[in-house]
Amino acid sequence: MMVPLSWYLIFSAALFCVGLFGVLSRKNAVAILMGIELMLNAVNVNLIAFWRYRSPSFIAGQAFAIIVFAVAASEVAVGLALIISIYRRRNTVVADEIDMMKF
């Protein structure tokens, strides 16, 4: 256990930023969701790292991580279903072209 906490935090910050880049720069809506998954994973690494380094006997970090798993699963389920539905109606998954609500 000779890895300092800062390494984990830097790693998860980097993962978060890569995910953010994906969300902001991708055209394909499915790929945007992939970016969001990366960000959620970065959050989870942080939660577990804090649990391990700050309060191993208090389980809150792990319980939060469990909830993040549930949220990630529901987000993917609904997000992808929306994308499929949009694709069926409008024949596109490019996020820029889904602009019915735009003035």
């Binding site: 256990m1 000779m2 890895v3 300092p4 906490l5 800062s6 390494w7 984990y8 830097i10 790693f11 910050a13 980097a14 978060f16 930023c17 890569v18 995910g19 953010l20 880049f21 994906g22 902001l24 720069s25 991708r26 055209k27 394909n28 499915v30 790929a31 992939m34 998954e37 990366l38 994973n41 690494v45 577990i48 790292a49 649990w51 391990r52 380094y53 700050r54 191993p56 006997s57 389980i59 792990q62 319980a63 469990i66 909830i67 798993f69 549930a70 949220v71 990630a72 699963a73 993917v76 389920a77 609904v78 992808l80 279903a81 994308i83 499929i84 539905s85 694709y87 069926r88 024949n91």
Partner: protein, 169 residues
């Protein structure tokens, strides 16, 4: 350099390069496969953090279910998405600048915090984290409400997603 640190660095490098490929590669199925590699790397981190349960849950949920769902969704929306041509939008450079700025900001913030260094407390050898977690998740002074709410959330997500994706005949 202890073996642990070497493992950490190797895994971090692999995970981050896979993540970069997820957000840059043109072929969207390849992006999904790289996502799996990246998620697997995160599972290794959970092992390094003595959270074996989460490592396995990561593999079961993310690789076994979410990645499959992604691949299915790509197949369902395939017809018009050709792999050639740019997959990034026109202001990707702005996204890159924002991401790098955020990263620099986070590092700056971390470096000004005292708690960031320091050894992890030694885990007691008889500590049963899964048992603790199990008890915390269902005890009324623990997380029973979020736990049941997560279940309800998943039910809502399932029904909503089915309603949205269902092909009416």
């Amino acid at each position: 350099m202890t073996p642990m640190q070497i493992i950490f660095i190797l895994t971090a490098a692999a995970t981050l390069s896979a993540a970069v490929l997820v957000v840059t590669t043109r072929n969207i199925i390849h992006a999904a496969l790289w996502l799996i590699v990246s998620l697997f790397g995160v599972a290794v981190f959970y092992v390094l953090l003595n959270a074996g349960f989460f490592a396995v849950v990561q593999v079961v949920i993310y690789i076994g279910a979410i990645a499959i769902l992604f691949i299915f969704a790509v197949m369902l929306t395939r017809r018009l998405m050709s792999d050639s041509g740019p997959q990034s939008n026109t202001n990707w450079w702005l996204a890159a600048v924002i991401s790098v700025l955020l990263f620099v900001g986070l590092i700056w913030m971390l470096s000004s915090w005292r708690g960031v260094t320091g050894e992890p407390p030694v885990l007691k050898s008889n500590i049963d984290t899964i048992g603790l977690l199990g008890r915390a998740l269902v005890s009324p002074d623990g997380f029973v409400l979020p736990f049941e709410l997560a279940s309800v959330l998943l039910v809502a997500a399932l029904i909503g997603a089915i309603y949205v994706a269902w092909e009416r005949k």
